[in-house]
């Protein structure tokens, strides 16, 4: 994974990872350290990392026609109390937010797991957007947060 130079190092994180699931924990650690520097609360960091994993794992698992090496770019920008996240890839065109909602009220024997990851993203993140730009997928997430109070930082474990 590469971490790119940003216009303003203090307010933007840019990382380029390859289409390997094994790189997701490394990305999560990088995102956690970056957001912690802005006093983003642990539960919000959890939600951001969950959204990143669900979207990126979807792309890695279903978006490519071969086992080749492809780059996925993740940019996180801080503006006031809003976190803006952009995920860009050159996988097959796919709007992750277009599919029908999952039935979370179904009984255990009727529950499948398909679509659950995207359901979590839509429920946890304030605003989500997809655009196909040229031969690339652009997924944008926007999420507001209240800064962690000093008391909150030691409470909950978020590995």
């Amino acid at each position: 994974m590469r971490v790119g130079d940003a216009m303003d190092l203090s307010a933007e994180l840019c990382a380029v990872m390859s289409n390997r699931l094994a790189e997701i924990p490394e990305l999560a650690g990088m995102v956690e350290r970056f957001l912690q520097a802005f006093d983003v609360p642990g539960p919000t960091i959890f939600q951001i990392n969950l959204a990143l994993e669900e979207l990126i794992a979807n792309t890695i698992n279903y978006g490519y026609r071969d086992d080749g090496d492809y780059a996925i770019r993740v940019t996180i920008a801080m503006a006031g109390r809003e976190i803006s996240i952009r995920i860009e890839d050159d996988a097959a065109p796919f709007d992750p937010f277009a599919r029908a909602p999952v039935d979370t009220a179904a009984a255990i024997d009727d529950r499948g797991i398909g679509g659950l990851g995207i359901h979590l993203v839509k429920e946890m993140i304030d605003r989500v957007d997809y655009r196909r730009v040229g031969d690339r997928n652009h997924v944008t997430l926007r999420h507001s947060y209240a800064p962690a109070a000093a008391d909150d930082r030691v409470g909950e474990r978020e590995d």
Binding site: L21, A22, I24, E53, T104, A105, A107, I108, R111, D159
Partner: protein, 107 residues
């Protein structure tokens, strides 16, 4: 507690994600093979779970139920619990606070 009633126990730590859920599924199927009639998943050391982990939990609960056994989940942190809640899993799974309360379901 007799051996027949002793549930399989899984106690993952750290992250349960798309990268390691296949290994967790393998571990789950192994312990279930030895003790098919009940299972406790203790998530007290788990800081993070994604839908890849939920998939294995759902699979385990279905398999135990099909064998006529009891599946109990315990030790969810607030963030992990939120993932289960949003997924609708809190209403279809037996979730208790800690391992003691989980094991009490088998006594």
């Amino acid at each position: 507690m007799s051996d027949a009633q002793t549930p399989a126990l899984l106690h993952p730590s750290g992250r349960l994600d798309a990268n390691n859920s296949a290994q967790f599924e393998k571990d789950m199927l192994e312990v279930l093979d030895r003790s098919p009639h009940g299972m406790v998943m203790d998530f007290s050391e788990l800081g993070y779970v994604s839908s890849a982990g939920l998939r294995v939990v759902l699979l385990a609960a279905k398999k135990v139920k099909a064998a006529g056994g009891t599946f109990v989940l315990c030790g969810l942190s607030p963030s992990v619990s939120e993932v289960f809640k949003i997924s609708g899993f809190l209403s279809i799974l037996t979730v208790v606070p800690d391992r003691g309360a989980a094991l009490a379901r088998f006594s």
